[in-house]
Symmetry: C2
Subunit: 563 residues, 2 copies
């Protein structure tokens, strides 16, 4: 059967984009091919907002039947944090049938070479991009993100991270040429001459274990890095966030088929409630790569037990912002207030501990005491979220009852500087919407340490009183070293303090944002330019995205013979 989409056609279509992506990861200047304004969608084959909503609504009551081998039943029951039932059924897999079927197409996929794999991946991303508005709904109704964030982070930003992984995977594979002529002089004798062929070969089947909060954003890097390096990819979504990745698998299978490859190179492993298939999957001998985002406990388990696989984990961390001094007090407060509020603090990058000297800080508005800083930050959050419509648009919904319980318990951990407030969602009354709580703690008191040295995932932050900037730097160091951190922020006008914080971040491998007061936030990173995590502290063993994220997903096999 001839492919509908030839490699030649796909290269013509996507090579310019790939080249731009390669240039972007080299310069790390701003670049994105995926528009983040809703009005950009609706033309050139992409769904506009209404069509995306209609497509999402039409999924309810349907089966996503890909014709996946080994389908031994159907899984449903997904409920939105906004209170609606999604009503979509997904194939449940008999692994003993599915995994061998996934291997069948790997030889052709390997032989296609790095460039063809890259442009097939870019075609998948293009089809996903066209359905961004449908994915936005799916991400919103699984993660609980507000619509605009679900659209941006779950759509263009996730697609950017996927493409970034494709670019890294491509460049890594072509560092070694396909062939080489090797001629070694032998003095007066004839030279030794060999012809060498080098082939990037996949490791096997890669497993992506998705998370609840950012199913596409955190899922795409591993998925595309593994696929672009020749592996088959089995996607196991979080049981509460199946739809966005199930749609992704659907698109990938369609494109693979059209390009003449085996659809089973990408497959879904949905699980029945309570089935807990991740451990079984992760230790199958066929699984040679695992990408995981989630709890430290399970991430550590994977690293210790899935020894047959390359394991890439993003786990929990405790993110710190050091507040020592600023020449833009209002800008700092507004910037932090946004960071604490966005998606109700349910980002792995949201700051948790705000370290503030107990004797206060210096600002462009004069000295501010510890209590004033805490109160003013609370005021800034109140101001940001004072209007319920705006609050709903920023906060989204609490993703699960555990987060709600943690939030409610947080008020008992210390003096509350800002109480959490319940907000009604006019469209989705079932949604649990809450503003952040800010609790004051004393960093010198051992009994407070249990609170601020643990990750309290959700809309909870601690204003921690510290003795000095040195104390803050020490506490930052200990926090990153022992608990890990996806992000560190600092506000200071002192070159010495800046240097001390920078040195801690360099030594403990944490990504640092300094003095952000405008429209860039410590909890946001941009693909092709910012690294997400460092891979060098306990919060994650890999960074998105760098050479190490892709280099061990394939191996190079050399075949040499006399020339």
């Amino acid at each position: 059967m001839a492919a509908e989409l030839t490699a030649h056609e796909l290269i013509a279509r996507h090579r310019p984009t790939l080249d731009q992506a390669l240039e972007a990861i080299r310069t790390r200047a701003y670049w994105s091919p995926h528009p983040e304004h809703p009005k950009a969608y609706g033309e050139n084959g992409s769904l506009d907002m209404a069509a995306g909503k209609a497509a999402f609504d039409a999924l309810s009551g349907t089966r996503l039947d890909y014709g996946q081998p080994g389908t031994d039943g159907w899984v449903d029951g997904e409920t939105s944090p906004y209170g609606i039932d999604l009503g979509v059924s997904y194939p449940h897999a008999d692994l003993d049938e599915l995994l061998p079927a996934m291997k069948a197409g790997m030889r052709a996929w390997r032989d296609a070479g790095a460039e063809t794999r890259a442009v097939v991946c870019l075609e998948i991303l293009k089809r996903i991009s066209d359905r961004t508005m449908e994915f936005a709904q799916a991400v919103m109704h699984t993660s609980g993100q507000a619509f605009m964030m679900a659209f941006q982070a779950g759509g263009p930003h996730a697609q950017d991270r996927g493409m970034e992984a494709v670019a890294y995977a491509y460049v890594e594979q072509v560092r070694t040429p396909d062939t080489a002529e090797w001629t070694k002089p032998q003095g007066k004798r004839d030279p030794l001459a060999l012809t060498k062929q080098f082939t990037p070969v996949p490791r096997g089947i890669a497993l992506v274990i998705g998370c609840n909060t950012f199913p596409t954003w955190n899922g795409y890097p591993g998925l595309f890095a593994s696929l672009a390096t020749g592996n088959a990819v089995l996607v196991k979504p979080h049981p509460r966030a199946v739809l966005p990745l199930a749609l992704t698998v659907q698109v990938a299978r369609q494109v693979l088929t059209e390009a003449g490859f085996d659809a089973n190179l990408v497959a879904l492993a949905a699980e029945r409630p309570g089935e807990g298939i991740a451990k079984t999957l992760a230790t199958r001998p066929e699984i040679r790569i695992i990408d995981y985002t989630g709890s430290t406990e399970f991430g550590d388990w994977l690293e210790a037990n899935a020894r047959q696989a390359q394991v890439f984990t993003e786990k929990a961390g405790v993110n710190t912002v050091l507040v020592e001094s600023t020449d833009d007090y209002r800008g700092m407060l507004a910037n932090l207030a946004f960071s604490l509020s966005l998606y109700s603090g349910q980002m792995c990058t949201t700051p948790q501990n705000l370290l503030v000297p107990r004797d206060g800080i210096t600002t462009d508005e004069g000295p501010k005491s510890f209590d004033e800083v805490a109160a003013d930050l609370g005021g800034a959050v109140d101001k940001l979220l004072g209007d319920d419509a705006r609050a709903n648009a920023l906060l989204g919904a609490i993703v699960n009852p555990d987060v709600k319980a943690r939030l409610e318990a947080a008020a008992g951990l210390g003096e509350v500087a800002l109480a959490s407030r319940e907000i009604v969602h006019p469209e989705f009354p079932g949604a649990v919407v809450r503003t952040p709580v800010i609790v004051k703690l004393d960093g010198a008191k051992p009994d407070a340490e249990a609170a601020y040295m643990s990750e309290c995932f959700g809309p909870v932050s601690f204003a921690v009183a510290v003795d000095s900037a040195d104390h803050a730097a020490d506490l930052l160091r200990r926090t990153v070293r022992e608990k890990g951190a996806m992000t560190v922020g600092a506000y200071t006008t002192s070159p010495e303090v800046e240097e001390a914080v920078r040195e801690v971040c360099l030594e403990e491998a944490a990504q640092l944002s300094l003095n952000l007061t405008g429209g860039v936030y410590v909890n946001q990173t941009a693909a092709f330019s910012d690294f997400h995590g460092s891979g060098g502290n306990p919060a994650a063993n890999a960074a998105l995205c760098d050479g190490a994220f892709v280099a061990n997903r394939f191996r190079v096999v050399e075949v040499r013979r006399e020339a």
Copy 2:
């Protein structure tokens, strides 16, 4: 204190070489800056053969006192496989004092940047190169290699592998720019603008666990990859092969000091007889990278237990050569005979199992039965090693009593096609010199499997009768998958058989040499062009050298601020 060697001077001296190395790993054409002819040494500051021997002799009775912190005693007792006592004493380290001292210089080494680190490493290699003839003696008298091999493999070839690692480490670190200006359009509003700094940061202290047979060749890639990426490096040599790595540490410390860095960035951890410090060292929290060459048992232990470190292992494997047909029977026999004989088969790349159809093979000299092939190969080995002087120059000495015991036991495993012969070394009567044994086994008999499916390290190979080329390919696949392989060879004139073997190697990630009949051997690889191992089968979890070998030895920390 001003550095005697400035970065500027070192860059001027070595940047052209670095650029050539970068070009070589990109094209993989032949290149080496390290001459492999003895007569090339003795000029431009390098020691000639006599001076190297004199320098080696002068070491006897001395202490290699680097002034290493935490030296709590001295270790000696190293004995050459050629029967002489080396008589050199090495510092024994108190780790609680040495490891903190090694960390002290890491900040300056990190801040020096990738290029300066690369040229300092190249200066170390240059100094080692100048002393190649001294290292040749040290390698000969620890590994048991014959002089010419100790000189070539332990000298220029090891230096090539070290430089290759420096080149990979350098290019990996400069893939991300030092700084970037990031400007994101915001429609009618002002663009968002950030200044970003990117710094490669080391993981910590790297541990190199050396091996007995190739202390420099197998030690240099990890040592230089870790050092060039900003880490401090602690070298723990094999207790029977201390001197070559101890001299290496000496040179590294001298160059680091002259270049204005802390000598303790490279240190030695020699151990007392039976002390077995590797496990203690490998699980110290300060150790974040481990490079190991040696047994599968200990390599597996490291991978399972040194969880705080990136672990790179080269372990045991079972190397196979498939002999199906040839159009150069004499060339094939001569080539294989050399491969089996070189260093008494004590290379991790030496073929062990020669799979030959029981019904014989076709050749340019007509059909040859299984027994004829085994006998003719034995004859070729006999011819190669018929002259004792030549035999001594090729075989070297048996490295330790375990190898001798295995060799002696091998004759009992099956019908002997070629018996091992004892050879007297005229200069070193204490040396145990043995020619290889070839034992015939039936690949269809389950009781033979225990022999050919285990690594029998040393001058032992098995001519295994197989039913067909398909059977051979199946056995090859099973061997690589279950036991691992550093090398695979095949002789065939059949495109179908070649394709079948190639496919096995691609699927099981093994490096394949096809139809070698001239002066290149399956057990030899050339740095900058050939990969040593694949990192994709059980024999090794890393290849020398590729991006994956270096990419996770450092992390990149980003510091961003508003522009």
